[in-house]
Amino acid sequence: MIQIKNISQSYGDFKVLDDITLEIPEGKITALIGANGAGKSTLLGVVSRLLIPSYGQVFIDDEDISLMKSHEVAKKLAILKQTNQHQVRISIRDLVSFGRFPHSKGRLKEEDIQKIDQVIEYMDLKNIEHKYLDQLSGGQRQRAYIAMILAQDTKYVFLDEPLNNLDMKYAIEMMTILQKMVKELHKTVIVVMHDINFAAAFSDYIIAMKDGKIASQGDIDTMMDKEKLDHIFDHDFCIAGVNGRKVCIYYNQENGVGNL
């Protein structure tokens, strides 16, 4: 279980995170939403010890993350940030092997190699495993990084805006993979994302942030609420129902008359 207690983070006088206390539900996809600058990525960074908070603690399975050794954290929690580090010549297989680093310290054992093969198979990368990252399409590259995270074999997986630069087809593919990871591999996935409809369609739980605070949280049905979303994004939303799901419309509305 991941517990966040009284986390604050400030740059100078500006408080990016303001006294956040939170518990992340197990075995679900949790979407972390909010406007630009609400502190989503910073919160993700703090929880995954990429950033050291100015105040507060993060507990992972009741252990204080700041007191754990970095490679012990890496066995429990994997994080994928958006990087543009693609000019390095790394093949997919080598990238996936990096996922075993917390376990093997770079010296791959038989079980590590098995795990790598298994993950490459699982992510359907077998026929391109020797291709280099700079030869891949955006979708393939994102799958390769996910494979690395899976090879890391952690209970918790954090992703920072994995849908950026992906077109609709790949974005859906990505979210489906995350759903599979929760269902088949019993992972707990936390995703920072922008598109509220994607969050509603693919996640189980939504945490919304505004101005460095948790604005509201709950399951999809409670969160897809006009009043709540209006407050979170400072925008006029319109919630509609399509095929029994709630969808929100946030453009081309005339005087708030948006009920389709």
């Binding site: 490679h71 954290v73 890496a74 990087t83 580090q85 390095v88 010549r89 917390p102 310290k105």
Partner: protein, 333 residues
């Protein structure tokens, strides 16, 4: 893997050829008769030959040490700054070393133990280098990793500034003191500081061992800072240590053969092109071999052409053009 091994074998052979050329080629071109009939002359000549070869052998060792240290520190520096163009000497570290030496003489005079004792001098100079490189990383490099051109400008300013500072100090110094600094800082590949060659061997071994031990971690660090931390690398600690090793390596090479700006850039990038890998171990071996080849073969040619120029001039010429090419290529991507 097999490709890596083949490349490394080819370059090892080339290095051996260039070493033997360096040691023995002068015997072919020398105007003197090396094996005279006269028994007395023969003894004198034999002594001269062993003398010359012995001195040349020392120089080969010196160039080898410098080559390995330049290649490894440039390779690791590129990993921790996440780019393929910067090297420690391009950011001005070797110029800083010259200034540090000048500063030592200025503050303690050339007859002080900090200058005359090579060990103490080395400890003091590289200690200062470590402090400077760590604070430089904190202040400039860390925040501007992605601003390559900015960092190149910083390097240019830093090296010009420290060179001017050094020459200013040398100008206001006593002429005798100035002389003793020139001897220490105006070293080149032809005019090597032979007194510290054998002293640097243990340092070379320790530094290379520490680098090699960390290569697997540096491999992960090529993914960038946040991804490496995510995979359990203690990034800050590893980076600080890497900077310390690098500062020591730069102190040794600059003390030994003086500044050579582009050698690290050429060798590391050439081995990346040849091996097409991110793995540090094969890159380290191949770039060390290429650096040795360039220095030793280059020096052989320089000697045979009657010292018309120096190796570092040639390396700067080739390296400068190569860097412009890399910058243009990088900008296109």
């Amino acid at each position: 893997m097999a490709k890596h091994r083949r490349m490394i074998i080819i370059f090892t052979i080339l290095v051996f050829i260039s070493i033997s050329l360096y040691l023995f080629f002068w015997m072919v071109t020398t105007p003197y008769q090396l094996f005279p009939k006269d028994p007395q002359l023969k003894v004198v000549m034999q002594k001269a030959i062993t003398n010359i070869i012995g001195r040349k052998f020392d120089q080969v060792i010196g160039m080898t040490i410098a080559a390995i240290l330049i290649a490894s520190s440039s390779l690791v520096f590129q990993t921790i700054t996440e780019n393929r163009i910067l090297t420690p000497s391009l950011i001005g570290f070797d110029a800083v070393f010259v200034t540090v030496q000048t500063l030592i003489v200025f503050l303690f005079t050339s007859s002080s133990i900090f200058y005359t004792n090579p060990y103490l001098n080395f400890v003091l100079a590289s200690g200062l280098m470590i402090m400077i490189s760590l604070s430089m990383y904190r202040i400039i490099l860390k925040k501007n990793k992605n601003h390559l051109v900015f960092l190149l400008l910083v390097g240019m300013i830093l090296s010009t500034l420290s060179r001017s500072l050094a020459s200013f100090l040398q100008n206001i110094m006593d002429p005798m003191e100035f002389q003793s600094i020139v001897i220490r800082t105006e070293v080149t590949v032809s005019n090597m500081n032979t007194s510290i060659i054998y002293m640097s061997i243990p340092f070379l071994l320790i530094i290379s061992f520490l680098f090699i031990k960390n290569f697997k971690t540096y491999d992960v660090m090529t993914l960038g800072e946040s991804q490496a931390i995510g995979l359990g690398v203690e990034y800050q600690k590893k980076m600080n240590y890497a900077l310390i090793y690098m500062a020591i390596a730069m102190s040794i090479t600059t003390a030994l053969i003086g500044p050579i700006s582009f050698l690290g850039l050429i060798t590391v990038n050439a081995s990346r092109e040849l091996l097409k890998t991110h793995k540090h171990l094969p890159l380290f071996i191949l770039s060390s071999l290429i650096a040795m080849l360039m220095l030793i073969l280059g020096q052989t040619i320089i000697i045979e052409t009657g010292y018309m120029t120096t190796v570092s001039v040639w390396i700067s010429l080739v390296g400068g053009i190569y860097m412009i090419y890399l910058l243009l290529k990088e900008n296109q991507a």
